[in-house]
Symmetry: C2
Subunit: 326 residues, 2 copies
Amino acid sequence: MTTARRPATLDDVARAAGVSRSTASRVIAGNGFTSPVARDRVRTAADRLGYVPNAAARALVRGAGVRLLVAVAGATPSVLDDSYINQVVSTSAQVCAPYGLGVTVEWVPLDEPGRLTRLADDRGVAGLLLVNTTDAMLGLVPRRLRGRTASIGIGSASVPSVDIDNGGGTAAIVRHLYATGHRRIAMVTGPPWLTCATRSVEAYRGLLRQAGLPAREVVGDFSAARGRAAAREVLRRWPDTDAIVGISDATALGVIGQLRADGVQVPGDVAVTGFDDIPLASVTALTTASHPVRRIATAAATMVLEQRPVPPLTVFPSALVLRESA
Amino acid sequence: MTTARRPATLDDVARAAGVSRSTASRVIAGNGFTSPVARDRVRTAADRLGYVPNAAARALVRGAGVRLLVAVAGATPSVLDDSYINQVVSTSAQVCAPYGLGVTVEWVPLDEPGRLTRLADDRGVAGLLLVNTTDAMLGLVPRRLRGRTASIGIGSASVPSVDIDNGGGTAAIVRHLYATGHRRIAMVTGPPWLTCATRSVEAYRGLLRQAGLPAREVVGDFSAARGRAAAREVLRRWPDTDAIVGISDATALGVIGQLRADGVQVPGDVAVTGFDDIPLASVTALTTASHPVRRIATAAATMVLEQRPVPPLTVFPSALVLRESA
DNA sequence: TTGAAAGCGCTAACAT
DNA sequence: ATGTTAGCGCTTTCAA
C-alpha cells in the first residue's frame, strides 16, 4: 500500500533522475535544450513518481492564469440559464481538464460591454471564450489575452472565431418547405442584436424575395414561451400561413404546442421547423437543422489552449434533419 | 485613459495604505487580527487600485488548489454528454467564479473507482463534487479533500450530500395515477447501480404492494431511445397496462413517442409520467416531478467552497407537476 | 547542454 | 495589533 505521502515535486523528480531542477523543468515543460539521455531519465522518474506539475506554481511564475473564462453576452443574467450555454461550458470544462485549467462563466450585459474588461483584468484568467458576443465586446479584449481568446459567433481581426453556417442552415429549411409546396411561410425570429440570428432571418428573407413571396416576421427570443405567443400572433396577422420557421427548437416546440392547443394540425395545416436539433427534437419528431455544438465548443476551447496560429474563422455546417413536423 | 500597466499586487496595496504586506494580507484574506483603522485604509487602497488577489499565488502558498473537480460516475464517458451534467457543471462554474476558482469535469468509470484517486491527487484540485457516485468512490476521497468534498446523490459519514427526494416524488406520481383510477401501472426503471434511481423504484414497488397490485418493471437507462423499446416490451408482456411511470422525462417522452406511433392514445389508453421536469416537458404537456437542479448544484458547490460545517444531508423536495399526459 | 540563483505574489509562523 | 522573514513549486535568465 502506498502511504498517502506528499505528492512528488519537480525537485523530487530531478533528484530521482540525477539532474538539476532546471533540466527537469526543461524536459517536463518542453522548452529549452535537453540531451536525449536527460530527457529519458527525467521522463522515467516523473512516471515512476506519478509526478503532476503544480498548476498554481506554474501559473504564478509564468504570469499566466489558471482558468478559462467563458463570457456570455446577453440582456439579462438569465442567458446563463440555457442549455446551449451549459453545453459550451461543460464541454470546455472537459477540454480544459487535461491542461489543469478550470472554467468559469460570467455574464456580460449587452449595455455594459466594459464589464468584460473588469472580468478579464483578473490575472487568474488564462484565456477567454466569447459567446454571442458583439463588436463592442470584441474591441474590449485586453491585449494580454490576445492570442488567448476565441469567439463562438462573430470574430474580428484579432479574435479568431468558430461559427455555425446559420444562413445556410436556414436556407436549407426554407428550400425544403418551398419544395414541399408551402408558399405562405412565416418566421419567428431571434433578438435583432444577435448576429447569428440575423443571418438566419436574412437567409429567410432572401429566399422568399427570390421566390416572389412576402416575408412574415414575428420577433421572438429563442424561448418556447415566446414561441407560443408568436404562433398566435402569426395566425392572427396572417391566417392563411401554411408554415412557420422557428429560430430555435424551443421556439418551434412552443409554436407547435400552441397550434395544437388551438386545434391546428401540424404539419397538416401548418408545417413547423426548428433549429439546433436538441435531444428532444428527435423525440418530438421536429424537423430542424443540427449543429455540432460539442465540436464547436471543443474547437474554440482548443484554440485558446493551444495558442497556435489558427484560421480567423472556422465555419461548421448546419445539417437539415427531416422529421415529421414539416 | 488608464494605461494598461501591471495590475496591482498586495505590495502595492500595502504601500498605498501605509502598512506592511502582512497586515494588508490579513485584511484582504480576512484572517488574523487587524485594527479598524488598518482595515479601512487597506480596503480603500485596494478599491482605488482595483486590486484583485492572484489566485495562483494564493493557492500555491496555501497548498490549496485552483479548481473544483466535478467527478461523474458512469459506465461510459458518454455520461458527460448529458444535459443534467451540463447544468451541474455550468452552475458550479457560476458559483465558483467569484472565488476565482475554475471548474473541471471528469468521468470516473464505475468499474474503476480508483480513477478518482488519480484525479484527486492533483494538487490543483481545490475541491471535489461527486455526481451519481457509488459507495466505493465515496470511500476513495483522499484525506486532503475531506471537508472540501460534497456529493450530489448519496453521501457518507465524511462526505456531505445534497439529494433529491426521489422516493417522495415517485410516490406522489404513483399516488396520482392511483387516485385517477389506474390499477395496472408499469415502470421503466433506471440502471440498478444508481441509488437515486433505486429509491424511485422502491417507492413504486412499495406503493403497489400496499395497494395489493403487482409490479411491472422493465429496466431502462434514462434515455428516450431505451424508453421507446421499453414501451413495446411493457405492452408485449402486460397488454392491459393502463399507466407507465418513466424514471426520467426522456424515458417518458420515448415511451409516449412509441405508444403514439403504435396507435395507442396517451393518456386515453395509457397514462405516462416522467421525472425531472426538463424544459420541454412543459411544451410536450408531460406530467412529471420537478427538481431544482440549479439550487442543488449551487448548494453542493457552496458546501465545498465555504468549508463551513454543513448538515450531512440536505434533501430537496420533488414537486408533482400535473399536465396532460397523465 | 546543464546548473545556480533569483523571484513570481502571496500566507503564516514568529517576534515584537 | 503589526512587521519581519521564510518559503509554496515552478520557470527562466545567466554563467559555465
